[in-house]
Symmetry: C2
Subunit: 135 residues, 2 copies
């Protein structure tokens, strides 16, 4: 009986410990990861189909990346934060990976398939930022 | 005894349920939040003191934002993801907030203090993207 109480207590505290850590936000777990951000600059006449990007393009690329991919995010650009400035980017898709070389090795053989899919959702040539999660 | 077994089971499954949800990544919890990204473009002669930015500038701004701020992240730009292209951004600091109007109301009275601190860590004029977390 005492043992069972003890086990329940351990389970409960581990549960809160795990939950507590996760709850500190993704930044703790993400620190040190490599971010590859594919950024679509806004300009007059440029189009971007967010529905296709979210449902088809990003899942396709994510599949190529396998277990090296920790997560990916999608952002829709709404406005410039500075008054009277144009929207900087229409959309940004970001891959959080453990290892940049593995990312490059996974993308290389699929580059043509990825590029061929661009015209299905946009006429923008993206810029790509490779960065490191500091916080 | 049976009751206790049952309670242990419930505790354990709730624990995994919570952990499982959290483990889907921050994107689930972040969906719908507003992102304000302060982006520092790279150019020859531009400097950026990441240590000061992380330890002093970002915590100062975060304090102004109060409970509207869900989290903030910092990224250090390393390279362009496209060969032979210059680094697009030296750094990006991003605030994830619940409400854009509240963000603007909190920043307005502190804009001078924030701008005055720029010269302590950079000579870059940032661009600011307001976006929405799609995923």
């Amino acid at each position: 009986m005492k043992l069972r109480l003890f086990v329940s207590f351990i389970l409960l505290t581990s549960c809160f410990a795990v939950f507590g850590q996760e709850n500190q936000g993704s930044s703790v777990a993400d620190k040190g990861l490599t971010k590859v951000s594919v950024m679509y600059p806004y300009a007059e006449g440029k189009t971007f189909n967010m529905q296709y990007y979210e449902s088809t393009h990003m899942p396709m690329v994510a599949k190529f990346l396998g277990s090296n991919l920790v997560k990916y995010t999608i952002e829709k650009g709404l406005a410039s934060g500075i008054p009277n400035q144009p929207l900087p980017f229409m959309a940004i898709g970001t891959f959080y990976v453990k290892n940049l070389s593995e990312y490059q090795a996974a993308i290389a053989p699929n580059r043509d398939a990825i590029r061929a899919d661009f015209s299905n959702y946009t006429n923008i040539t993206p810029i790509i930022l490779v960065g490191e999660v500091v916080k």
